[in-house]
């Protein structure tokens, strides 16, 4: 069993970055995730593993630092919260286009604009539909506990390098700030420079003797070549959709109604299940763990089983609900419930919405 600790979600994410053998973290403070860089700075990862930690001048700089260092084959990560993630969108698009692996954590807060510093899930569209320009995708993982804030870091690095693509860990102020018991995984070795050079021949870390130079760019002025590159990216995304979907179900076997919820909302929905079942309402939960690729097949399975309706429970005005509707295609009811602006819905409110929108309606 790994080391047990009581930690904030943000701290667990930071500790996991060190333990996953990350080579560098670049970031800029913003509530509710400043603990990530604060924790890293206090841990002196330079001494623990040789990991570089640098406070950048802005999120624009941080994401471009990921482009640079990630492009040399090193394991790099940043974290921020909603407004900062908005600033990173151009960089993320370049990173996706140039196929550079990296991990970006978004601890979402209420919006739009400066919004507030309370938890929200209103950055779903930005994360899963490609918030920057051009046809690209991020792999998006949604932890719903402090444990997963830790566990998803090495998983994200694995996916980022497997597909040479940016991966986002999307949580919210609740998961970032709350303290829970977490079992930390053991320290993994950082790759040596020689191993990086050996493993990632595409990386720009100095032209190898007797070989061609490496170029990382998202530019191609020849439209036919750029079209081809886009098809290449799409083929990669189809493979990810085929192989990397993660989700969890709870009490779906006998369910007449299903809530679909991720992250904090999934935690709240668990309590709603208990309250509902005490009243004899048979409700279950599908928890998407990857928001992109979306667990379409899991939802389809329950459509086929004749579920009476889905309720998308999310702290947004109704974003993920659109992805459920895309699967369901009108075959059964799909409704949305969620509080926004940093307000967290209660299990009772969710139950009430379930009754009014699906059962009674």
């Amino acid at each position: 069993m790994g080391e047990l600790k009581l930690m904030k979600g943000n701290e667990a994410l930071a500790e996991a970055a060190i333990r996953a053998g990350a080579d560098a973290y670049f970031g800029y403070p913003i509530t509710p995730q400043s603990e990530v860089i604060e924790y890293l700075m206090s841990e002196k990862p330079e001494e623990r593993t040789g990991m570089v930690v640098l406070q950048a001048e802005s999120e624009v700089a941080s994401i471009n630092m990921l482009y640079g260092a990630g492009g040399t084959g090193k394991k790099v990560m940043t974290s921020s919260s909603s407004p900062g993630i908005s600033l990173m969108q151009e960089g993320l698009s370049y990173i996706a286009g140039a196929e550079i692996p990296c991990v970006v954590a978004n601890v979402v807060r209420g919006g739009p604009g400066l919004g507030d510093i309370q938890p929200a899930q209103s950055d779903y569209f930005q994360a899963v539909k490609g918030g920057g320009h051009g046809d690209y995708r991020l792999i998006v993982l949604a932890p719903s506990s402090v444990q997963e804030m830790s566990d998803f870091v090495p998983l994200s690095f694995d996916l980022a390098f497997k597909y040479r693509t940016p991966v986002m860990i999307i949580s919210d102020g609740l998961i970032g700030q709350m303290m829970e018991k977490v079992e930390l995984f053991d320290q993994m070795d950082r790759l040596t420079d020689e191993e990086v050079i050996e493993k990632y021949p595409w990386a720009t870390n100095g032209k190898p003797v007797g070989k061609e130079r490496r170029i990382l760019t998202s530019l191609d002025l020849d439209p036919h070549k750029l079209e081809k590159h886009n098809h290449h990216l799409q083929a990669k995304y189809r493979e990810i959709e085929e192989k990397e979907v993660l989700s969890e179900t709870l009490h779906c076997d006998d369910a007449e109604y299903i809530m679909v919820a991720y992250g904090s909302s999934a935690r709240i929905a668990q309590k709603t299940i208990q309250l509902a079942r005490e009243e004899g309402i048979k409700v279950g939960l599908i928890r998407p763990i990857t928001l992109w690729p979306y667990p379409k097949k899991e939802i389809e399975k329950y459509v086929q089983k004749g579920i009476k309706g889905f309720l998308s429970v999310e702290m947004s005005m109704g974003q993920m609900v659109e992805d459920i509707r895309l699967v369901v295609e009108g075959r059964t009811k799909v409704e949305h419930f969620g509080r926004v602006g940093g307000v967290i819905h209660s299990p009772e409110e969710v139950l009430e919405a379930l009754k009014q929108k699906l059962i009674g309606g």
């Binding site: 080579d23 560098a24 670049f26 570089v52 640098l54 950048a56 001048e57 802005s58 624009v60 700089a61 941080s62 471009n64 630092m65 990921l66 482009y67 640079g68 260092a69 492009g71 040399t72 090193k74 790099v76 151009e90 960089g91 370049y94 140039a98 420079d193 720009t204 870390n205 100095g206 032209k207 190898p208 003797v209 130079r213 490496r214 170029i215 990382l216 760019t217 998202s218 530019l219």
Partner: protein, 264 residues
């Protein structure tokens, strides 16, 4: 002399100049007479002479030199507009033993990327920044740059740069020289043989500083022409540059070995 044939002339022992292998054989995408190509070649010659072909990572900007990676035969990354100093910072931080440089235009470095430029300089990143100041946005068709001279006509200052409304040209090189993080700051040109020799010496010093682990960033501005953007012939552009750009952007070292050079 009359007995010499072509065969005699091309003998290896008669070779006085050879294009460095660190420039690819691709035809340059630059307008004839543009300074970008010369600046590229000088950087590559310096890297070759310093024996760092296999240890160099260059960062190209967005601007006319966005395709620098097509011509420079070393590992290269193409950065987003203005972000090259952040990209280079990170590369150097995770590969401190490598040689890292950025190549940026004035719009890239002194407008959209001002924050990244100043902060990389201020942190004293051990990189080289090569800054091509042609007083205009060449790539996008000749719009006003932060470095455009007062009264100078561009497509977005068609009646001349009006400083009250449009601001004064920014001497970002003098500005970064004030920061403790810069170790060597110089302004050069590449329009004549003499200027080319001086510029190459300055570039070599800049890269040597990095290789020697000198504390701070080396910043080499090259005041260059943009005959297309200025709407002049290459020859006229160089004359105009000497008469108008150089009095405002004075050539020479501004900071050496971490010390500002006193103006007499």
């Amino acid at each position: 002399m009359s007995g010499l044939t072509v065969q005699d002339i091309v003998k290896p022992e008669n070779l006085v100049y050879k294009k460095t292998d660190l420039m690819t054989d691709k035809t340059l995408s630059y307008c004839p007479g543009c300074g970008h190509g010369t600046a590229h070649r000088l950087i590559m010659e310096v890297i070759e002479e310093l024996g760092k072909e296999h240890e160099t990572i260059g960062v190209a900007p967005v601007g006319c030199s966005v395709l620098a990676y097509e011509f420079m035969n070393v590992d290269m990354q193409e950065a987003a507009h203005g972000r090259a100093p952040a990209v280079a910072t990170a590369i150097k931080r995770v590969w401190p033993g490598k040689v890292v440089f950025t190549y940026q235009g004035d719009g890239d470095l002194a407008a959209i990327g001002t924050a990244e430029t100043i902060h990389a300089c201020n942190r004293g990143e051990k990189i080289v920044i090569v800054f091509i100041n042609n007083g205009i946005y060449g790539m996008t068709g000749g719009q006003m740059a932060p470095t455009t001279l007062p009264g100078m006509k561009t497509s977005t200052s068609p009646y001349g740069r009006e400083v009250v409304a449009m601001g004064n040209p920014l001497k970002i090189t003098e500005l970064v020289a004030q920061l403790p993080g810069t170790y060597f700051v110089t302004r050069q040109a590449v329009h004549t043989a003499v200027a080319v020799r001086k510029a190459k010496k300055a570039l070599k010093k800049a890269f040597q500083n990095q290789i020697d682990g000198k504390p701070g960033l080396s910043f080499v501005e090259i005041v260059s022409n943009c005959n297309s953007g200025w709407k002049m012939t290459p020859v006229d552009a160089n004359i105009w540059m000497e008469e108008n750009m150089f009095p405002f952007y004075q050539l020479g070292d501004i900071k050496k070995d971490g010390q500002l050079i006193e103006k007499k």
